[in-house]
Symmetry: C2
């Protein structure tokens, strides 16, 4: 006989798959685009063997799928909603766990005592784009930009920021985005561009959240 508890136990398996920082890092990386085990291992600072093991765990939980392409295994998220799930988990954690707020503020707000770096919300960004008052800047590595980006976004990887200033408009406010709410690339870019006199803010989300919301991508 089947009870409701069996369902909850199975549900718990899925939640347990999310219950490891390394696996969350793998999922966040996969939200940028499909990748091989080696790529995933490199971008998450794991050994290949360890990454493989965590990916199997995620696969058993139905969160990722794997497909062979030549010598490599290419992993991908099974479902766009996983990004929504992570986003909601993040929101709940930030609201209700003091430790979380402490970490977030230490990661981001240290150089922002006056709050001028306040991030721009999705709705504000959509309005700014519609009115043509905002130019979008993608500061992720070129590879991730190529795998998908917000419409009309200019790509300047953070390392090359000062070398490619010519691509940035001076007549509009710039909104920088990167991998997601916890990615520091856009935060760093905003600080450096402000020093140079640009009018620039950070988008509070990133490419994966934009895509998971069903908004158009390029």
């Amino acid at each position: 006989m089947i009870s409701q508890q069996d369902l909850l136990d199975t549900l718990a398996q899925v939640a347990r798959a999310l219950g490891n920082g390394h696996r969350l890092a793998l999922l966040e990386r996969l939200a940028q685009g499909d990748a091989s085990v080696e790529t995933l291992a490199n971008t998450t600072d794991l050994t290949v063997g360890n990454a493989s093991q965590h990916l199997q765990h995620l696969r058993r939980a139905g969160l990722v799928t794997a497909q062979r392409s030549g010598k490599q295994m290419i992993y991908r998220l099974t479902d766009e909603r996983i990004v929504n799930l992570l986003g909601l988990l993040r929101q709940v954690a930030e609201t209700n766990l003091a430790e979380m707020e402490r970490l977030v503020s230490r990661l981001f707000a240290e150089d922002d005592a006056d709050g001028v770096l306040e991030a721009i919300s999705r709705d504000e960004l959509l309005a700014g784009l519609a009115s043509g008052e905002v130019a979008l800047l993608d500061v992720r590595p070129e590879e991730e930009y190529e795998a998908g980006h917000l419409p009309e976004a200019i790509n300047i990887p953070l390392e090359q920021l000062e070398d490619m200033l010519g691509k940035l408009p001076r007549d509009r406010e710039i909104v920088a985005y990167c991998r997601g709410p916890y990615c520091v690339l856009s935060h760093e870019a905003v600080q450096r561009l402000r020093q140079l006199g640009y009018r620039v803010r950070r988008f509070e989300e990133g490419y994966p959240e934009w895509k998971a919301a069903g908004l158009p991508i390029a």
Copy 2:
């Protein structure tokens, strides 16, 4: 120095708190309304000590809060969004984990070979209520009904179903609901009422989801 990984590790702690069937059962019970440790232990088939331990775990993760009331500790969900989080987890699991689908169908669909018991969605229900074509039936125990229920819902606990048929209208379709998608009470009620000739369907969600969506409650 703080890294993004520290944030993900903290986030993983919260996810790990969801990674146990008993704790999910406790959260589902709390979604019906606040409750004492003893009540929670009884409704989830745990010993009091064990329930207490799991509740501490949930509290450390920021998912529940406790407040003393006389001799008892009353626990509650810290955040309505936790219901949304569980709902999204459920959706992702059902879509991507074959095991999950198998369990759900074995729990519900055994006596429903012809699919006539198909559940009604939230949008359909709202339309039916607006047009007055639908009467709502809450088949949870009276105590949970009293703690909160959908507007205009009639309460007939499942055990007393046949004794209180007089409260049910004959001129409208009846929609039965209970604790949530995995709760079997409304499913059972629909089967028994159909045998008696009533026009009745099951609401595919439950009271907590309705409340978490910000819809009006009584």
